[in-house]
């Protein structure tokens, strides 16, 4: 296999990459709210947002203006400092996790652009060789946002929300780690680039066909990790008003949701790269296009599941994670180990 010699990664390139990630992912995260409302509306035979702009497309702008200009209320008796920094933990960790994710293909800025001409922009901002673990660790740290928000706001619903955050974290974390362990054993590396290299042989070489159980377990745990509907215990409005977000308004509330949608994109990227062939060319379709299609499919899957299933109780989540998914994951690892040895 021919190894392409890449230009040197400079700090300017990394900074440009970081700005691109920040700008595009926060825009996509905003657009994600529109997509979610539209997809849910079509599945439930409604129209969804229609009034602002054509097909309601400018609804994002209207929502953005609303979030930015709303009064920022800090409740009395709340722990003000923690209350104020909690949303930024969610948003910041979501973007830090994206630093180790290969998001877009690498490119070189054309020479005719002043100042930055000729700078090579890598596809991963921080290409560390333990990428998968770093991403999962950072996304786990992101749950400190809801936890601290709920505890700081001196509100019973908030406390219940943060208690649910703690049990949700302690439930799914084991399943996530064990489910990706089997693919990691097969590839023998923790780098997402190596995962991509492992699946170069086209459709048949996708990790899904070798590790279907691990894929399903990872998806389920990913739903819990991003706090999506079957497991949206933290802020289920039918039970706990708005959980950890009860007392938040304006942009601080918005930051929780930018973080949540950025995490959804991260989980989609990991699933696409680890299990679904990554950014290799598939037949005549270029690699960068196919990876975006895969990411979009998993993002759509999350919305689809939200429209299809009711959410479950916290004790059901713990039962599911510890008594069903974790044993299956362990058995999967043991079988994978035996198959690899024989």
């Amino acid at each position: 296999m021919e190894i392409a010699v890449l230009p040197e990664v400079t700090s300017a390139g990394v900074i440009i990459k970081a700005i691109i990630i920040l700008a595009i992912i926060s825009a996509v995260a905003g657009f994600g709210t529109y997509l979610e409302r539209k997809v849910l509306a079509f599945m439930q035979r409604r129209l969804g947002p229609m009034h602002v702009g054509p097909f309601g497309l400018l609804q994002i702008a209207a929502d953005g203006i609303k979030l930015f200009t709303k009064e920022d209320i800090v409740p009395q008796n709340a722990n003000k400092l923690i209350f104020q920094i909690a949303p930024s933990i969610t948003a910041a960790t979501a973007f830090i996790a994206l630093a180790a994710v290969p998001v877009f293909p690498d490119f070189t800025i054309p020479e005719w652009i002043p100042l930055l001409g000729g700078v090579f922009v890598p596809s991963i901002a921080a290409d560390i060789n333990v990428g998968v673990l770093f991403i999962l660790g950072m996304m786990a740290a992101g749950l400190y946002g809801p936890l601290l928000a709920g505890m700081a706001q001196a509100n019973k619903w908030g406390i219940i929300g943060s208690a649910r955050t703690a049990i949700q974290f302690l439930s799914y974390e084991v399943v996530t780690g064990l489910s990706i362990l089997a693919p990691i054993m097969l590839v023998g590396s923790l780098s997402l680039v190596d995962f991509n290299e492992y699946q170069t042989g086209g459709f048949a070489s996708w990790m899904v066909w070798q590790q279907p159980v691990a894929f399903i377990l990872f998806l389920i745990a990913g739903f819990a990790e991003t706090n999506r509907t079957p497991f949206d215990l933290l802020e289920n409005e039918a039970e706990v008003i708005s959980g950890y977000a009860t007392e938040y308004s304006g942009m601080r509330w918005g930051m929780f949701f930018i973080g949540e949608y950025a995490n959804m994109i991260t989980v989609s990227v990991i699933a696409a790269v680890m299990f679904m062939g990554g950014y290799n060319d598939l037949g005549f379709i270029a690699g960068w296009l196919i990876v975006i299609l895969k990411i979009a499919f998993i993002f759509f899957l999350m919305l689809w599941v939200r429209a299809s299933w009711p959410h479950i109780r916290p004790d059901q989540l713990m039962w599911l994670c510890w008594k069903v998914l974790m044993p299956i994951a362990v058995i999967n690892i043991v079988i994978t180990g035996f198959v690899m040895m024989v």
């Binding site: 722990n79 673990l133 786990a140 590396s189 004790d315």
Partner: protein, 188 residues
């Protein structure tokens, strides 16, 4: 240059955060600064090039302190300060002395460390997790297994202590009792 900036930045932040952990009277501040300090220690590992250890530090302590928060939530009103009641002067004296001793050792460590040779220098051509695995499963196999057995013992003990009535669901039982009460009242 960048490494030095990163090291001093992380060190100052870690020491500051752990000071807050010890000195504050608010449970929420103390645990949040503990968690933040633990995450920043991962930053020190990253500047040393020990990526794997850094990530493990991150994952392990994020989970562990999350469990600690759960206990704090049950024991304290986290929005109020805790009333401390410190009457033991000799304990403070002892802890202060130990801290001073530790500072002396830390400061003198660089002088000593020039004479220390690494017994198992990192091998060339292996990635970080592989190097950790090689040392863990050869030189430190016995401590590793002993730690595993200890964790297993702790887990079994925890299950025995907590698991006496695991088959009965407390919530559903209470619901049934409440429902029976309501029904009885209706009949009256």
């Amino acid at each position: 240059m960048y490494e030095q900036i990163a090291f001093y930045l992380f060190s100052v932040l870690i020491i500051g955060l752990f000071l807050v952990t010890v000195l504050t009277k608010n449970v929420l501040y103390s645990m949040t600064s503990l968690a933040a300090g633990m995450v920043l220690i991962a930053g020190i590992f990253f500047t040393l090039g020990a990526d794997f250890l850094g990530v493990v530090q991150l994952i392990v302590y994020v989970g562990a302190i999350m469990a600690l928060y759960a206990f704090a939530m049950m024991f304290f009103d986290v929005t109020k300060d805790v009333k401390e009641n410190n009457t033991n002067g000799s304990l403070i004296f002892l802890l202060g002395g130990l801290t001073a001793l530790m500072f002396v050792i830390i400061m003198s460590a660089p002088i000593m460390s020039e004479n220390i040779q690494a017994l198992y220098p990192p091998m060339a051509g292996v990635t970080n997790p592989q190097a950790v695995g090689m040392v863990l499963f050869t030189k430190y196999l016995v401590p590793f297994e002993v730690a595993a057995v200890m964790l297993l013992v702790a887990m079994i003990a925890g299950i025995i202590l907590a698991g006496k009535k695991m088959d009965q669901s407390l919530t559903t039982e209470d619901d049934v009792i409440v429902e029976i009460d309501i029904l009885e009242e209706d009949e009256k």
